[in-house]
């Protein structure tokens, strides 16, 4: 459950951004969670719900999660498959099992809406 510590890090950033922008209520938070980031979206959401309940600034804020794609390159034929779904089982062109993933590893705070 490293998601909890990541949500704590997020909340520190939100508090800092609110101070800098004279906001006193966060309305929504838009996160980008890569399919290869190692983050379980349900756990992240759970952590967000639990921790925001105790936080006057963030309580009730909507958590919007966007999942960007990752690209899987076939080592056999070079075909590149780009998807935000789970990892393809095999290359759709040649059926080879060896695919090298790139991208989709980050956890990004994209936008916040506050008042």
């Amino acid at each position: 459950m490293h998601e909890i510590s990541l949500v704590q890090g997020l909340f520190h950033q939100l508090e800092k951004l609110a101070r800098e922008n004279n906001g006193d209520k966060i309305i929504s938070v838009t996160m980008e969670i890569g399919p290869l980031s190692g983050i379980v979206i349900d756990s992240f959401r759970f952590g967000f719900d639990v921790l925001s309940a105790d936080n006057d600034l963030i309580r009730g804020a909507e958590l919007i999660i966007e999942v960007p794609p990752a690209t899987y390159t076939c080592v056999q034929c070079g075909h590149k498959e780009t998807t935000s779904d789970s990892r393809p089982d095999k290359c759709i062109k040649c059926g080879d099992l060896f695919l090298i993933p790139t991208g989709g590893e980050d956890l990004i705070l994209n936008r916040i809406e506050m008042e």
């Binding site: 950033q13 922008n21 209520k25 290869l36 190692g38 994209n110 936008r111 916040i112 008042e115």
Partner: protein, 250 residues
């Protein structure tokens, strides 16, 4: 909650306006950025000091500490080894390593399921103060026993080693892909137990290579010593490369 705009604090405004009270701020910063920056600084520090740093990741009890004990016995006269032990509680693993006569410190995370770059940074400076802590060639960082969370956090290591023991079953790469995608080396441990378990080394390594074709794979038993030479050579080569490169990046 305000019925008109869903704003949680209706006392703040009236509705003869078009939501000018809420502002959208584009941030676009990575939540890993702080950890990654510190990890990079750690790696540069290891490079400057000519230290090869390895991050060991596995489920609890896969044999990380045992492998380190046997590795120290085998290499103690050839290179200087240092160890940072990560555990949720207790000094037990550090005591086992200390008994081998090499510098070691224990990081207890107090509940956290992984080490991060900050803890590693502090741990390394504590290690430097230990006897022999200033002349380390090879630094092992034994992460908290957990195959999921540690793989998300770069500590500043040069290579990441993921271990799976025979009793755990060969399906770990398929179930915990991130650990195998983010590692450079995969070690199957406790191969002396192969006769008693339905474990195919070929299946486990095949699945891991499917996820990460660049992965180096090996299998060994710390207790019988079978396969240890390949592991030890791998370590010596890393140290050698670091020395030859004149402390530049591996």
């Amino acid at each position: 909650m305000c019925d008109t705009c869903g704003c949680p604090n209706p006392s703040h405004h009236t509705h003869d306006h078009d939501h000018t009270h809420s502002r959208t701020i584009d941030v676009h910063t990575s939540l890993f950025a702080a950890n990654d920056a510190l990890a990079k600084a750690n790696r540069e520090h290891f490079d400057d000091s000519g230290i090869v740093a390895l991050n060991l990741i596995s489920s609890p009890g896969s044999g990380k500490t045992t492998l380190l004990e046997h590795t120290i016995d085998a290499l103690k006269n050839k290179i200087s080894i240092g160890v940072i032990e990560g555990d949720i509680e207790t000094e037990k693993d550090a005591e086992r390593i200390r008994a081998k006569g090499v510098p070691v410190i224990q990081l207890t995370t107090g509940g956290a399921c992984h080490l991060d770059a900050t803890m590693t940074h502090k741990g390394f400076h504590r290690l430097e103060k230990e006897d022999g802590g200033k002349s380390i060639d090879l630094l092992f960082i034994e992460n908290v026993g957990n195959l999921v969370c540690p793989s998300t956090f770069d500590l500043g290591e040069h290579e990441r080693v993921v271990l799976v023991s025979v009793p755990e079953g060969p399906d770990k790469p398929a179930k915990y892909p991130k650990a195998f995608i983010s590692s450079q080396t995969f070690v199957v441990t406790k191969t002396d137990l192969l006769p008693y378990f339905d474990f195919s080394v070929a299946e486990a390594t095949g699945d891991a290579l499917h996820l990460n074709p660049r992965l180096r794979t090996m299998d060994l038993s710390s207790t019988t010593g079978e396969g240890m030479d390949i592991w030890l050579n791998y370590l010596l080569e890393l140290v050698d490369k670091m020395k030859k490169n004149g402390n530049r990046k591996l």
